[in-house]
């Protein structure tokens, strides 16, 4: 029995999930769910077809379902205290501040925009592949990419004023993990 191809994909699944959720624990939970889903649907994957695209599709659907579920939960269910997460967001080699800042800004993008941006940049997938994985028409992928890039640029370039900040987090209730400083 050879499980190597599946194992080979775990690091990139973990990395993508970490950027998507902003949390090491949430990310590994998502990867585990993905692997378990792969287990139950294994016969749907054709030997020789693109295993990576299939795994990312499974993960995308799981994450989207989680988000739908969380958005129906009482407010606060998806909140995580950033102080609890700060040490799990580290990137030892690159500048720590830059990585934390980038991750923080990423989490303020709507989930569908964030997914497209990460699949394109982190995974280097083609727009057509991203369309297949996210189940969206390619035109939608391109417009999500545009909005994600424009918004991330704003967020990274100027610290967004507090007023706008709260407006954003209020609007994007679908955002999975809204980091909030409790102290």
């Amino acid at each position: 029995m050879n499980r190597q191809p599946l194992i080979d994909h775990i690091p990139s699944l973990r990395r993508y999930a970490r950027a998507l959720t902003g949390s090491v624990w949430a990310a590994d939970d998502l990867v585990q769910d993905t692997l378990e889903r792969a287990c139950s649907k294994w016969r749907l994957w054709l030997v020789g077809s693109d295993l990576r695209a299939w795994l990312f599709t499974l993960m995308h659907n799981l994450f989207a379902n989680q988000m739908r579920y969380q958005s129906r939960q009482p407010a606060g269910a998806g909140l995580v205290d950033i102080d609890d997460e700060a040490d799990t967001l580290s990137a030892p080699e690159a500048g720590l501040d830059v990585a934390i800042d980038l991750q923080r800004c990423l989490l303020r993008l709507p989930q569908d925009q964030r997914a497209v941006l990460l699949l394109v940049c982190l995974e280097d997938l083609s727009y057509a592949e991203v369309a297949k994985i996210t189940g969206a028409p390619i035109g939608t992928v391109m417009s999500r990419l545009s909005r994600a890039r424009a918004r991330l640029r704003e967020l990274m370039e100027g610290a967004v004023p507090a007023a706008e900040d709260s407006a954003v987090s209020g609007k994007t209730s679908a955002t999975p993990v809204i980091l909030r400083r409790l102290k």
């Binding site: 029995m1 050879n2 499980r3 190597q4 191809p5 599946l6 194992i7 080979d8 775990i10 690091p11 990139s12 973990r14 990395r15 970490r18 950027a19 590994d28 990867v31 585990q32 692997l35 378990e36 792969a38 287990c39 139950s40 294994w42 016969r43 054709l46 030997v47 020789g48 295993l51 990576r52 990137a91 030892p92 080699e93 690159a94 830059v98 990585a99 980038l102 991750q103 941006l117 990460l118 394109v120 940049c121 982190l122 280097d124 083609s126 727009y127 057509a128 369309a131 297949k132 028409p137 390619i138 035109g139 391109m142 417009s143 545009s146 890039r149 991330l152 640029r153 990274m156 370039e157």
Partner: protein
């Protein structure tokens, strides 16, 4: 923009943008393609020239490029972390279910055989003896390395725009980078004499649990567009019993994957050459690669 599921790759997207030469006509989709490296070199150069006259678009492009570059670094340390046991366990369960599938196919095959024997041959159409064979083949233990090589070939060789992480133009960087990651000075085989030019290379994860283990893939292409890949890396996870044998092996041929492959092991380092070629042609190339990678070691023989 609104063509669902079709590939938008043709470079200068909309007719308006290509016919107009005003700087403001730089379409956002083209900026994306430029940033994501999805334009042909000529189109990328043309677009870059137009950006020179459009400071706003140029600034956007620069910002997006910086964004992409920093995203590429984000959480990259995950690749150096060992895979958590819980995830490996999840895969192990997957494997059991795969075993069930395998068995299911086999029983399916038996059933088909029985039915065939009764002259109901039509039932066997659509049963999957081929799939069953592919699944069984993937289980062969000793060729696991070669199997990974073949899978890596099957995944990346068909890529049109991004078959490699580092292109041939940056050969020196490619070799330095992969040497560092594989912890051994690598040499790039030259196959121009055989008609194959280097496309580039990429880093791939190695075996489970080996936190330092990594594999490299070099890709070559001939004028007919046929791509071959060389896959290499340390075999540090070899079982104790097999380690002596695994330190060095003769050329071995595997042909049960999507493409055939020759592989060999030398001083604990595995090499596999994979490509959609007949056995003879592949063997010749494998010998060339072997000789080029081992010239100095020849004295020690």
């Amino acid at each position: 923009m609104n063509a669902p599921y079709s590939d938008p790759t043709p470079a200068m997207a909309t007719p308006e943008t290509s016919s107009s030469n005003t700087a403001h006509a730089v379409a956002q989709d083209d900026l994306h393609r430029l940033v994501d490296g999805r334009l042909a070199p000529a189109d990328a150069a043309a677009l870059a020239a137009r950006l020179a006259h459009d400071p706003a678009a140029a600034a956007t492009q620069a910002a997006w490029q910086a964004q992409r570059d920093s995203l590429r670094q984000l959480h990259a340390q995950v690749y150096g972390e060992p895979v958590p046991q819980t995830l490996l366990d999840a895969v192990r369960r997957t494997e059991q279910s795969r075993g069930q599938v395998d068995q299911w196919w086999r029983w399916g095959g038996v059933a088909a055989g029985v039915l065939l024997a009764f002259g109901l041959g039509w039932v066997s159409r659509g049963m999957a003896p081929v799939s069953a064979r592919a699944v069984v083949a993937a289980n062969a233990g000793p060729g696991a390395f070669a199997h990974q090589a073949v899978v890596a070939h099957a995944v990346y060789a068909p890529e049109v725009r991004h078959p490699v992480e580092v292109a041939a133009a940056q050969q020196e960087h490619l070799v330095q980078w992969l040497s560092k990651r594989l912890g051994r000075p690598l040499k790039l085989p030259q196959l121009a004499a055989q008609g194959y030019e280097l496309v580039g290379g990429r880093l791939l994860p190695g075996e489970a649990g080996g936190s330092g283990s990594a594999r490299a893939q070099f890709m070559y292409q001939n004028s007919a567009g046929i791509r071959i890949t060389i896959y290499l890396g340390a075999l540090n996870q070899v079982s104790q019993t097999g380690s002596a044998a695994a330190r060095e092996t003769a050329f071995s041929f595997v042909s049960d994957g999507p493409v055939p492959s020759f592989y060999w092991v030398d001083q604990g380092f595995g090499y596999a050459l994979a490509g959609p070629l007949p056995r003879e042609a592949l063997l010749q190339l494998a010998q060339v690669v072997y000789q080029q990678l081992e010239p100095e070691a020849g004295g020690a023989r």
